[in-house]
Symmetry: C2
Subunit: 251 residues, 2 copies
């Protein structure tokens, strides 16, 4: 006897270090692949398709990724959460499981996402944060970085920060917040909130902000890139390991 | 031309996960072994003996281990620190290097050490702390743990917490502090400060405190173990991965 199908909303946290990103890829360890495998195990081997709000890249971490799937199980949500805690590996953890509207779509219904990029500025590099933060031992001018960040919020065409977009791609997105915090001692955190993000957009913003903080690019560069996108004028793409998806917001 | 020998005091932080502890062991990756190898490289291959204040066990972490060695280098302390930052792997980092008295002895001159044990009490287990904290999802009664901790400070014979000590071993040590903190959300931290510690003493204290917090041992058990050491009455030895040497104090 199988149970009636119901749509479930999963909240997940993962250490992205040992995953080739979110999205299913044959022969690769991905977050979607690992979670789908456990869900299939609970369904007698039948595939359960998991849709994630953000297709995080290889090495990117998540503290509150949201995904949905149809389950046909008689277990309650809390029993399913318990089962997933037992069956999933230690680097991807279910934070919450709850039955939701049948038409809930984790990606399409997301109103916004918040990312945080961590930069370890200690001279030595904190060994406890090395999987989760970029080590940048040279001095960064926080004032210059904050000045550049203040130019970012708003509705802009971001193609200057995302080189190589196919022609015709809509690169307009609204960024709602771009801030620098010093929450962790010895670290600079860069927080970006917005309705949607293009692939590599946050990491290219961070790479550019680091150049600005080092003094090797002018603060005005970010404004110029928003006005006139020209290739080769951003900083390098910052490494994935410093990028954390903090949360996904819904109505 | 070699420089005059001088004694140097090193402060080190390390993620103990991928080390077989501090102490040199042939064929094993140990912290002492890795740092000595880099120091030997700077001395044309001649061994430089490194003496650490605490011989941390396999898997134990350090935020402020102190070690001393004799160097024969013309580099200044800050140049040596810079060289060590470049040459040491990312999981063992030099926090400071400074020339000290010729008779300084990191282990014998240590007046006290502070350890912290981290217990992740979230139901799911935080994926970002899994290398650095014991995951204990069942409820722990902080009041009972605090009551037991309050019995610990003072000069005691700790053989009840360290089964199998060779006869005649002096197991008397002064514990100066034993406290519970909730600094990290979802975690219990247990902090122990003292003049000296026996091997496994902190981890056996933690294992016993966890049993007391779960309600499966009485609070009074710690007092009984200090009064009448009888084998088999402690909790299990807590895993190494939750244990952190925070600092070593000197005059």
């Amino acid at each position: 006897v199988t149970a009636r199908a119901r749509r479930v909303r999963l909240e997940l946290a993962y250490d992205g270090t040992d995953f080739r990103g979110w999205q299913l890829q044959p022969g690769q360890r991905t977050v979607q692949g690992v979670v789908e495998e456990v869900l299939a195990g609970l369904h007698g081997g039948r595939r359960v398709v998991l849709c994630g709000a953000s297709r995080t890249d290889s090495g990117v971490h998540a503290h509150g990724q949201v995904a949905d799937c149809l389950v046909e199980l008689r277990q309650t949500d809390s029993d399913l959460a318990y089962g997933l805690r037992r069956l999933l590996p230690a680097d991807v953890r279910p934070l919450g499981v709850r039955t939701t509207d049948d038409d809930f779509h984790a990606r399409k219904h997301a109103l916004g996402k918040v990312y945080r990029y961590r930069i370890d500025c200690t001279p030595h590099g904190d060994p406890f944060h090395r999987r989760f933060a970029l080590h940048h031992p040279a001095a960064l001018d926080e004032g210059r970085m904050r000045a550049a960040l203040s130019l970012l919020p708003g509705r802009h065409d971001w193609r200057g920060f995302v080189p190589g977009l196919p022609p015709g791609t809509d690169a307009v997105r609204r960024l709602t917040c771009a801030e620098l915090d010093l929450e962790v001692s010895g670290e600079i955190g860069l927080v970006f909130g917005g309705e949607g993000f293009l692939r590599y957009m946050v990491r290219n913003l961070v790479g550019t902000l680091i150049e600005i903080g080092r003094g090797s690019m002018p603060v005005e560069r970010v404004g110029e890139l928003l006005e006139r996108p020209e290739p080769g004028r951003t900083g390098p793409t910052a490494p994935a390991k410093g990028l954390h998806l903090l949360r996904v917001d819904y109505a």
